[in-house]
């Protein structure tokens, strides 16, 4: 009887999800409520978790709660600490959640809500969550080894080296594009600049407090930091309203770019207790708090989606970024559906904390489902804006022109309506001089969130505070990735430098620290500066590169996962990872090829380089460029981007070819199906934990 009731419940959940999807897909012309989208996503996640993740846990990996995990066997009170699964879940989620799933879906909303929603849900269920869980389970069976180590040991040295270089390349592109999002958010915005700027001394104050005033009282210091953040919000407003101070903090994009580079460098060389650690605590609090608040806000308001299901821009003529819905919707959404970066975390801290193997299902698969839900909420927040407002914020100057009148005219030509007065009123309402062409996704997401929060909690006058609160939250997120990423990049460079000259590897030798930090900042700074000075807004070229890079890393992870499944003698289940791998290969290869070779200069890097070359020679410059030198620089930048995309393409081919060779040899019986798994010999039991 109970069994029957349970079966009926799951049939009901599945049916509700199917009906919600049908409602979304079939609505034409009328606005649909966000409730449909949330129901469709939630029901899909429930069904996938209940059935698919269990299939992977039981059939593919045969996860066994009695098999001792590295946390138990190698327990050292430091890295390896058996931890309750819900705490690991929280820790893992806080580590994987970043700005990616917020920005990607916002940009992809130019195609309408449907393509984004479908890929976020289908992609996570069959791809992203599978990847995270498989890598986590594989790492748990291998004493918590990293993705790079597993690639080298399971596939071979070529794959291992490719993985290593890919990670470095991805870090560079990731940090530069995220920094560009911050620059676009803060340029000519004294309020935002002051608020975000103040978060740095606040973190340092927390660091000092934790070291000397009340040592190690992390929660206490975080609460003080949170209170100061609210103060920073008001301080920003005060500055923006002061006629003498506001101009001082009204900065140009290039100035902000230099400031961010200086910040990244400083974060990499100063002690971690002073800046990085307190910022991380603060960011984790704000992250979890805002995600929860956004979920509650959306549930309370259940706003209608103003964006149509599918816009005309699926044909590739969209102003936010160039390219058709295939493959660019899949590349743009990035982290909300599948993120290779998560494989680094699932093979980093998390596997060393799992108390039981079977927890990999909740932490790996479940954690990614929640991340995907965040992406769905970001999509909702972008789609509650009317299309006119959405495009006014997200389209570059080159498409909109400099004034609200030119913007309204351009948007009318695309078939959406918005008046110049509406655009001015909205900017006034959020306390900004202008919202036009604030590309990068963060500002339009902040407007959407402010809209939802002010409707949920009342008080239209609070729009400006909510907007800047949302901006602060996003920037805090991004800057914690930027500073910690720069430091990690420095260590990676030092590790490589060690092979050239041993002292370069010394992590506390000042010249080596300064040199490697400066080099890493320069590597991402070049791309950031190129993006800031790009008349097309920079996001158009850099975000796709990031998406391709992130999916390349996912391809590496899925290759490792497939190899491990094949070597476990489970080749009949290899489709679990081969299916998403094949899709990613098609998406990244076609995306990269289009970005390099397309004859449309908005889309293809090489075509764009030729256009700028011609402009530099003829002296007839496109709008936004000062002189022939600037045009020549743009041509160089486009060729650099083409080279980076080529490198990513070659890496995908190498890693897949190298893995496939291994699979064929094992399946054909020419190589023993032996893995580097730590054997389960029965000597250890989970309860005894006889390790050390």
């Amino acid at each position: 009887m109970v069994k029957l009731a349970r079966a009926a419940l799951w049939v009901l959940i599945a049916a509700a999800g199917a009906v919600a999807f049908a409602g979304l897909a079939l609505s034409r012309g009328e606005r649909v409520s966000a409730a449909w989208l949330l129901t469709a996503a939630l029901c899909s996640y429930l069904v996938a978790y209940r059935f698919y993740s269990r299939f992977i846990a039981r059939r593919v990996f045969a996860l066994d709660a009695s098999r001792p995990t590295p946390a138990v066997r190698l327990s050292d009170g430091r890295d390896f600490v058996p931890t309750h699964r819900w705490i690991v879940f929280g820790h893992h989620f806080a580590a994987i959640a970043g700005p990616g799933p917020l920005v990607g879906p916002t940009l992809a909303a130019q195609f309408g809500y449907l393509p984004g929603a479908l890929w976020i849900v289908v992609g996570v269920v069959l791809g992203g969550a599978v990847q995270d869980m498989v890598i986590l389970a594989a790492s748990v069976r291998r004493d918590g080894k990293s993705l790079g180590q597993m690639a080298r040991e399971e596939i071979g040295p070529v794959a291992g080296f490719t993985a290593l270089v890919a990670v470095l390349g991805i870090m560079i592109v990731l940090i530069s594009v995220l920094a560009l999002v911050v620059v676009n958010t803060l340029r000519a915005s004294p309020w935002g600049t002051v608020t975000i700027g103040l978060t740095i001394p606040i973190a340092m104050l927390m660091g000092v407090y934790l070291r000397w005033v009340r040592p190690h009282r992390v929660l206490e210091a975080s609460l003080i930091g949170l209170a100061l953040l609210v103060g920073a919000l008001y301080a920003g407003r005060w500055v923006s309203e002061s006629p003498s101070l506001a101009p001082l903090f009204t900065l140009r994009g290039t100035t902000l770019a230099w400031l961010l580079m200086a910040y990244g460098f400083a974060a990499s060389v100063v002690p971690v207790w002073l800046l990085l650690a307190p910022r991380d605590y603060l960011s984790a609090f704000v992250k979890i708090g805002v995600v929860a608040a956004l979920a509650i806000g959306i549930l309370l308001v259940l706003p209608p989606l103003e964006m149509p299901a599918v816009t005309r821009f699926v044909d590739g003529t969209g102003p936010v970024f160039a390219g058709k819905v295939f493959p660019f919707a899949f590349i743009t959404i990035a982290c909300g559906a599948i993120s290779g970066f998560h494989a680094l975390i699932a093979s980093g801290t998390t596997p060393k904390l799992l108390e039981r193997e079977t927890d990999a299902r909740l932490v790996g698969y479940g954690g990614m489902l929640v991340e995907s839900m965040v992406a769905v909420m970001a999509l909702v927040a972008a789609c509650v804006l009317t299309p006119g407002v959405y495009f006014a914020i997200n389209a570059p100057v080159a498409a909109l022109g400099p004034t609200v009148e030119s913007a309204a005219e351009a948007i009318r030509a695309w078939g959406f309506t918005v008046t110049p007065a509406e655009l001015s009123a909205l900017a006034r309402e959020v306390g900004e001089p202008s919202l036009l062409s604030r590309t990068g996704g963060a500002p339009s997401l902040a407007v959407g969130m402010a809209h939802i929060f002010s409707r949920a909690l009342g008080g239209g006058g609070a729009m400006a505070l909510w907007y800047h609160f949302a901006i602060m939250f996003e920037a805090l997120f991004i800057l914690t990735t930027l500073d910690a990423g720069t430091r990690v990049g420095r260590f990676m460079l030092q590790d490589i430098g060690r092979h050239l000259w041993a002292p370069l590897g010394r992590v506390s030798w000042y010249p080596a620290v300064v040199l490697s930090s400066a080099l890493f900042v320069a590597l991402w700074g070049v791309f950031l500066y190129q993006g800031v000075t790009d008349p097309l807004g920079g996001i158009n070229s850099l975000w796709p590169l990031f998406g391709i890079a992130n999916q390349l890393l996912a391809a590496v992870a899925l290759c490792v996962g497939t190899t491990i499944i094949v070597k476990m003698g489970k080749a009949r289940y290899a489709w679990v990872t081969v299916l998403p791998l094949a899709w990613l290969a098609v998406v990244t290869m076609s995306g990269a090829a289009i970005k390099i070779f397309s004859s449309d200069p908005k889309l293809g890097f090489l075509a764009s380089a030729r256009l700028f070359d011609a402009a530099a020679r003829s002296g007839v410059l496109p709008p936004g460029l000062a002189d022939a030198g600037a045009a020549a620089q743009m041509a160089f930048n486009a060729r650099l981007d083409a080279a980076v995309a080529t490198f990513f393409m070659v890496s995908v081919v190498v890693i897949i070819a190298d893995s496939a060779r291994e699979w064929v040899q094992v399946i054909a019986g020419r190589k023993p199906a032996r893995t580097t798994e730590v054997p389960f010999d029965g000597r250890h039991t989970a309860a005894a934990g006889a390790g050390d």
Binding site: S75, D76, G77, R78, D79, V81, T83, H84, I87, G90, H91, A94, A95, I96, A97, G98, P99, G100, S146, V167, M171, L174, L178, P215, H216, V218, L219, S222, V272, W273, L276, A277, D280, Y281, A284, F285, I288, A334, C335, S339, F341, H342, L344, I345, S347, G348, T349, T480, T481, A484, G485, R487, V488, F491, M492, V507, F546, N550, D692
Partner: protein, 72 residues
């Protein structure tokens, strides 16, 4: 955290708060010195354990040396 322990109920409000705070610190990934200390005393009683300051400094340094603590 500073709340007094009550004698009667198996879990007083103070104890609940303390365990919630501990869970929160673990989610944040803050260094857990108590855990280390009990581990060190139990498994390696012959070696003097690190001081709290040494332990925390070492954990924080280690956290920011590898990719895998931070994501996009």
């Amino acid at each position: 955290m500073g709340a007094p322990r009550s004698q009667g109920a198996p879990r007083s409000l103070g104890e609940r708060l303390a365990s919630a705070a501990r869970a929160l610190r673990m989610v944040l990934g803050a260094p857990d010195y108590e855990r280390y200390l009990s581990h060190a005393r139990e498994r390696h009683p012959e070696v003097p354990p690190l001081s709290r300051d040494e332990f925390v400094a070492a954990r924080l340094r280690a956290r920011y040396e590898r990719p895998g603590s931070r994501c996009c």
